[in-house]
């Protein structure tokens, strides 16, 4: 496949994925499509017990190392507000985080690797992961045994604020630990005109929202980044009934374990305070999510070097977004890289867009990095053998 033809094909794949986004764990059509594209190129699929997600392998030297390349495939419950000709056709669902970009890039890399299969100094395993957005996909993939035998794993995320052709590669922490919370305020409902016979759960909930703003402004060190966001509030159904219950959902992002613990403690403190102050009951359900993305130093150095000639390699800023790629990194050494996508809006925005030209750059990145890591790991092994 010529370079131009490859670019044409993966952009077509990207557009098709963009038009047919699917929510986490419902990526059935996406799974079918990816399988089809891989099988078209006679790429061997791996067996899986998961209903969605695709796993495949391109085996070169059977005695060589095994490197995993990972792309996530799920979309978000957002109504797309772009003017793209290939806009989402699924109402209320949108690839607003560019996982279609990642999937198309990994397919592109797969096609390149397939062409060089015989020369590969080891095996490349392709991981098309479901359910990144819900934070549970990576763990499912690990439980399904898809990481067995891997020596290293490489992943990417598009980055709207980096131009196409730029790669953000960094050793150490890159992305945040990501916890979810559900806070429920139980008051006593009643008539809107007789507030004295109620315990107003809406007032208590709004006071809680205001109070927790001080965690980041007052309790976390100004040297550390941390985010606390309430993303959803629901209480009541009608204009003349004070509800007995209000539910808040949200998320907390941290880079350091001690901050993570502190924030949970402050939530419990404020919950108790609001209970006392407003005569309500407050429950805090803490759903501990993925840990922070921590890049392996050696891997980061190898792939940084491998890509320097063909891309602008920069050191990216820490991102307070989370990615469950970090779960893979707790199993095998891994590196997660930002690929420039030159978009007008940040991730999860209804007008989010990527520049499709970035997909080929990302495909090349996957390809070159896989080959470089296989080579480096093979050399290391043989040195190790010599040492013995």
């Amino acid at each position: 496949m010529s370079g131009e033809k490859l670019e044409e094909k993966i952009i077509a794949i990207f557009k098709e994925l963009h038009q047919h986004p699917e929510l986490s764990l419902q990526e059935f059509e996406t799974t079918k499509r990816i399988r089809h594209w891989l099988e078209e190129q006679s790429i061997k699929l791996r067996e899986t017990g998961l209903p969605t997600g695709v796993f495949a392998e391109i085996a070169g030297d059977p005695n060589g190392p095994v490197v995993g390349l990972r792309a996530d495939i799920d979309a978000l419950p957002i109504s797309e507000q772009t003017d793209l000709t290939y806009k989402s056709r699924n109402d209320g669902v949108m690839h607003a985080c560019g996982h279609d970009f990642h999937t198309a890039a990994l397919l592109g890399a797969a096609f390149l690797l397939k062409e060089k299969q015989a020369e590969l100094p080891g095996t490349v395993r392709l991981i098309f992961q479901p359910a990144e957005e819900t934070g549970h996909g990576a763990v499912k993939v690990i439980k399904d045994g898809q990481l067995k035998g891997l020596d290293a794993v490489i992943g990417i995320h598009n980055k709207p604020d980096l131009p196409v052709g730029t790669l953000g590669i960094k050793a150490g922490p890159l992305m945040a630990a990501c916890d979810k919370f559900k806070v429920t305020v139980y008051g006593i409902g009643g008539h809107a005109a007789i507030p004295e016979r109620t315990k107003d759960a809406i007032i208590a909930a709004s006071s809680f929202i205001q109070s927790i703003q001080t965690i980041v402004s007052r309790n976390i060190s100004p040297k550390h980044e941390a985010v606390v966001s309430v993303t959803s509030i629901h209480g009541g159904t009608v204009w003349n009934v004070l509800p007995g219950e209000v539910e808040l959902l949200g998320t907390v992002r941290t880079f350091y374990d001690q901050d993570r613990e502190l924030i949970l403690q402050r939530f419990q403190d404020f919950a108790e305070g609001v209970e006392k102050a407003y005569g309500v009951q407050v429950t805090v359900i803490w759903d501990e999510g993925t840990p922070s993305v921590l890049n392996d130093k050696k891997l980061a150095a190898i792939i940084g070097q491998a890509n320097q000639a063909d891309a602008e390699v920069v050191t990216p800023e820490l991102s307070v977004a989370g990615d469950d790629f970090s779960c893979f990194q707790r199993e095998v050494p891994g590196v997660f890289v930002f690929a420039g996508s030159n978009g007008p809006e940040d991730w999860h925005h209804p007008s989010f867009k990527v520049d499709p030209k970035g997909i080929r750059v990302a495909a090349n990145f996957y390809y070159r990095s896989a080959v470089a890591v296989l080579k480096a790991w093979k050399e290391k092994r043989s040195r190790h053998h010599l040492d013995v």
Partner: protein, 385 residues
């Protein structure tokens, strides 16, 4: 068919009330309730009047050119999941007679039955108004638009009242309830990933600030005895990792007088817009000027007081800010809106609210006795003219 004894009538009405309670219907959707009321009235040979409204029942007892008295009961329920534990709890998930309209209907049915038994003694007619959509605050207006008030000279009705002994009747001449206004506010910010709030404008933090800021209108800007402002419904976002573009809240304002009503109406947008500006979001306010205060006609109230005191205790109603669209009828004809004690119970609109079966017979007597008495008095007045 021999007429029912009091005991027989009471158990029949309780049976009806339990049926209504088991099958509550929301405002403007009272289809089965409407059918059931029609079936019962027709069974008693009571004349059903034609209507263009899809729900609600209008009927008439009596004849001749004497005066006409309107008797009103509301029939709708609320979007609340019942948690009262009564054996006849709602069988409709998320809908409940949490305001006791089931007892109001049963009482008016009882009154209608007894009046029908003595139809020939009536000095005129009674118009039965089983009114739809009280909770939405627009049922009375629909009834008036449908011309069901035409020819009516006066109107009475009642609401159950917790914290008063069962069957005691509360009365007061003049203003007894608050005027209702409704508001809906949408805050529009800029949506973003939950981890990058600096790239958006968070409407939920703004919502929290709005709700807290609005408290100061009642505590700081008006005579606090004269108004209530409640935010009853908040909604924003649909998942945990996206900061939404918009946040919505709605609620109601109840006021005891015009000045306070105007003051709150002026202050509300100042607070909402100012707070929105502070948080960099845009506030769109919809203000609905609702029903006026219930205002009882002094002369009619005196008559009702005299008649009612013959069969139960009377207590002085304390004007409250809770309201009722019965007020809309009183804009057209003089009326009396009473309370009937419901015993020590939790607040109306609470999922654990219960109405007492015992008040139904008092409601029945209230409609029956006052119908004969008021028509008699109204007929006297008419002939004097």
């Amino acid at each position: 068919m021999s007429p029912l004894t009091d005991d027989q009538l009471e158990s029949l009405l309780i049976e009806y009330r339990h049926h209504f309670h088991e099958y509550p219907e929301l405002a403007d959707k009272e289809f089965k309730t409407t059918e059931k009321i029609k079936e019962i009235l027709s069974g008693w040979q009571i004349r059903i009047l034609p209507t263009h409204l899809k729900t609600g029942v209008f009927a008439e007892i009596g004849s001749g050119d004497g005066p006409t008295l309107g008797l009103r009961a509301d029939i709708d329920a609320l979007p609340i999941q019942e948690a009262s534990g009564v054996p006849f709890s709602s069988k409709v998930p998320g809908v409940m007679h949490a305001c006791g309209h089931d007892t109001h209907m049963a009482s008016l049915l009882g009154g209608a039955y007894l009046i029908k038994q003595r139809e020939r003694e009536l000095h005129g007619k009674v118009r039965l108004i089983f009114q739809l959509s009280e909770e939405a605050g627009e049922g009375a207006l629909q009834v008036i638009d449908d011309r069901q008030l035409e020819g009516v000279d006066a109107i009475i009705g009642f609401h159950n009242a917790s914290n008063h002994p069962v069957g005691h009747v509360g009365l007061l001449a003049g203003v007894i309830s608050g005027a209702i206004d409704k508001f809906k506010v949408t805050l529009t910010g800029v949506g973003t990933h939950a981890s990058a709030p600096q790239n958006g404008r968070d409407p939920i933090v703004a919502l929290g600030a709005e709700i807290n800021a609005l408290q100061s209108i009642i505590s700081r800007n008006i005579d606090a005895r004269r108004g209530v402002l409640s935010i009853t419904h908040v909604t924003a976002g649909n998942t945990w990792n996206i900061l939404p573009e918009t946040a919505f809240f709605e609620g109601t304002v109840r006021t005891a007088d015009k000045q306070v009503r105007e003051a709150i109406k002026k202050r509300f947008p100042e607070v909402v817009k100012g707070t929105a500006e502070a948080y960099g979001v845009i506030a769109a306010i919809d203000w609905y000027t609702g029903d006026p205060s219930v205002n009882n006609d002094p002369e009619l109230t005196a008559i009702v007081r005299d008649e009612t005191s013959k069969f139960t205790e009377i207590y002085e109603m304390i004007p409250e800010l809770g309201s009722d669209d019965f007020a809309c009828y009183q804009e057209h004809v003089p009326g009396v809106y009473a309370n009937i004690g419901n015993g020590e119970k939790v607040s109306v609109h609470n999922p654990r609210f219960t109405a007492d079966d015992g008040l139904i017979l008092y409601g029945t007597r209230f409609f029956e006795k006052n119908s004969f008495r008021l028509l008699h008095e109204l007929a006297k007045r008419k002939s004097l003219r």
